[in-house]
């Protein structure tokens, strides 16, 4: 029997975390994602599963708590919104540098600075190009529904532990706040300390006589060794690019034009496709689900069949750079976006398509 609930995206993330057997959540209030922490505190996960939930003194402390917990092999996560995610960048680059698995949720709001609490997609560069200092990447998942908010929690941890890397869920204020029907999964049992030891032989679980001490660090003062480590990281990202690309296509079979959009924008584009097709414009949608790794190969294939590509983003145009790189200048690529917390209407997306290409 499927369990269905009407939930906010932020609540779905929190419930999914409890059900996935997450060991620890460390957060700090910020709109529009505070429901994650509120829901977890209300649900008493320490009683339901033994999960630790802690309100930290800052986003900086919260991400470093994630570092500590992850370094000890546990399934740990944090969530925030854009200004808070900026604060977390120090911790995120250390997590990447120490190859620590964890999940970070960004419920994006408009910036720069304090900006506004309305939804935006203006943290794309920060999410997929590094964000903090040094050469590193995160696996970035972009949910477009409350159901995907729920489902991506477990997916994040699977990928995080498979590759020993932080995984970012790049959501936005609309998906975090809106309510939709969600199919709830089974309650998973949290791993025992013995199982954690087995899954993470590298973790600081306490040095016993059978092994050398485990050290979690991102420091190597010897540049030769540091370069070898950097090469190892880059090789890992290559493997991720080869194996973990996820995307969805809508009405691309006969498409002459293509929308590329993720998250909230991709939902707007679905309606725009309908409106455009009523006018006789054959347009389809490629929705990247992973923003890193990016579905560049599929995009290049699709570019051969279309006359033009319109990226639709709630930003000044950030993902468009990856689209242009992917299609190798084989087809015109244009951007349409709204900023400052405004969600584009389906009609204005169609207008933009007509204006740029027809």
């Amino acid at each position: 029997m499927k369990e269905l609930r009407l939930m906010k995206g932020n609540e779905a993330i929190a419930e999914a975390a409890i059900r996935a057997g997450v060991d620890g959540y460390f957060g700090y209030p910020i709109t529009p994602q505070s429901e994650v922490l509120e829901y977890l505190m209300h649900e008493r996960p320490e009683k339901r599963t033994g999960m630790v939930v802690l309100q930290a003194e800052s986003e900086v402390a919260a991400i470093n708590m994630v570092y500590g917990g992850s370094g000890a092999g546990k399934m740990v996560m944090t969530s925030s919104s854009s200004p808070g995610i900026s604060l977390k960048q120090e911790g995120i680059t250390y997590l990447a540098g120490a190859e620590l698995p964890c999940m970070i949720l960004n419920v994006v709001r408009a910036g720069p600075g304090l900006g506004t609490i309305q939804p935006a997609q203006s943290d794309y560069f920060q999410s997929v190009k590094g964000g903090g200092h040094g050469d590193y990447k995160l696996i970035v998942l972009a949910p477009a529904s409350v159901q995907e908010m729920y489902n991506f929690v477990e997916l994040s941890f699977d990928l995080a532990f498979k590759y020993r890397t932080p995984v970012l869920i790049l959501s936005d204020g609309a998906i975090g706040q809106m309510m939709e029907k969600v199919e709830i999964g089974e309650q998973k049992v949290r791993l025992t300390d013995a199982q954690v030891k087995e899954r993470c032989p590298w973790a600081t679980t306490g040095k016993d006589a059978n092994r050398e001490r485990n050290i979690i660090t991102s420091l190597d003062l010897d540049p030769n060794k540091q370069e070898i480590f950097n090469q190892k990281l880059q090789a890992k990202y290559k493997v991720i690019e080869e194996n973990e690309v996820r995307f969805e296509e809508i009405q691309t079979e006969d498409a002459e034009y293509l929308f590329i959009a993720y998250g909230t924008s991709s939902r707007i584009c679905q309606k725009s496709i309908q409106l455009a097709r009523e006018k006789g414009i054959k347009v389809g949608l490629l929705r990247p689900i992973t923003l890193f790794p990016y579905p560049s190969k599929r995009l290049l294939e699709l570019s051969k069949q279309v006359k033009g590509i319109l990226t639709v983003e709630m930003s000044a145009g950030q993902m468009i750079e990856d689209v242009k790189l992917a299609v190798e200048c084989s087809v015109p690529v244009e951007h349409f976006g709204r900023m400052g917390g405004i969600i584009p209407s389906p009609g204005e997306v169609v207008e933009a398509l007509e204006q740029k290409f027809l």
């Binding site: 620890g24 470093n64 570092y67 600081t204 679980t205 040095k207 050290i215 660090t217």
Partner: protein
């Protein structure tokens, strides 16, 4: 053969006056000769050995001179971003309540960039141990002014001496955290003489044993020297420490649990 017999004589129980704990690795210390860090490391590891909790102990190294503490301590360790050690320790202890978790931090790490993490871990009463080595200067980066640098004290960023008017007064973190209800045991020690070392070790042992009681955070400051940063000989730096640091940072227990 004769050589072996001589070695045997040396390690005879009655001839043995000192033995390095097995929990310190054989890696040469990265500290300047004369620095107190080596002694502080030894005491922490001796305590872990005496409590027989190597398997149960997770240490957090800071950023600063002791950033490489994990090279010298033969236990599982994590190296934290600058100042964040108490945040790491908080999560580890919450996720493994039966483990012994400690941070080892310097004064720049703990009393400047990590002020928030320190105060809030103390305020939440995390059942961890903080070892705070205070030598009044940023050692690793080359002797800059620290929050604990004394008034008038010269450093590379206070070349004419710390001017309290414009640079602030020395930060007394240990007295500050003692005010918080979450701290259970707060003490200030030193490691410059054999008697000070014995007292410091006793304090560190107590600070570790307290973790079993789950009554709050144990905080051990160790006032130490930085002969390189202070630009003195090791001997002179210890004398200077006694004459100048100790009046500002008086040794002794600041907060002791009620029996």
């Amino acid at each position: 053969m004769a050589e072996k017999i001589i070695n045997k004589d040396i390690v005879k129980e009655e001839n043995l006056v000192y033995k390095k704990t097995d929990l310190l690795t054989d890696k040469p210390l990265s500290y300047c000769p004369g620095c107190g860090h080596g002694t502080a490391h030894r005491l922490v590891m001796e305590v872990v050995e005496e409590l027989n909790v190597q398997e149960e102990t997770i240490g957090i190294a800071p950023v600063g001179c002791s950033v490489l503490a994990y090279e010298f301590m033969d236990i599982d360790m994590q190296q934290a971003a600058h100042g964040r050690a108490p945040a790491l320790a908080t999560a580890i202890k919450r996720l493994y309540p039966e483990k012994y978790v400690f941070t080892y931090q310097g004064d720049g790490d703990l009393a400047a960039i990590g002020t928030a993490e320190t105060i809030h871990a103390c305020n939440r009463g995390e059942n961890i141990t903080i070892i705070f080595v205070n030598n009044g200067i940023y050692g690793m980066t080359g002797g800059q002014m620290a929050p604990t640098t004394l008034p008038g004290m010269k450093s590379s960023t206070s070349p004419y001496g710390r001017d309290v008017q414009s640079m602030g007064a020395p930060m007394k973190m240990t007295e500050l955290v003692a005010q918080l209800p979450g701290t259970y045991f707060v003490t200030r020690q030193a490691v410059h003489t054999p008697s000070a070392v014995r007292k410091a070790k006793k304090a560190i042992k107590k600070a570790f044993e307290n973790q079993k009681l789950k009554k709050g955070l144990s905080f051990v400051e160790i006032v130490s020297n930085c002969n390189s940063g202070w630009k003195m000989t090791p001997l002179k730096s210890n004398e200077w420490m006694v004459d100048n640091m100790f009046p500002a940072y008086p040794l002794g227990d600041i907060k002791v649990p009620e029996e």
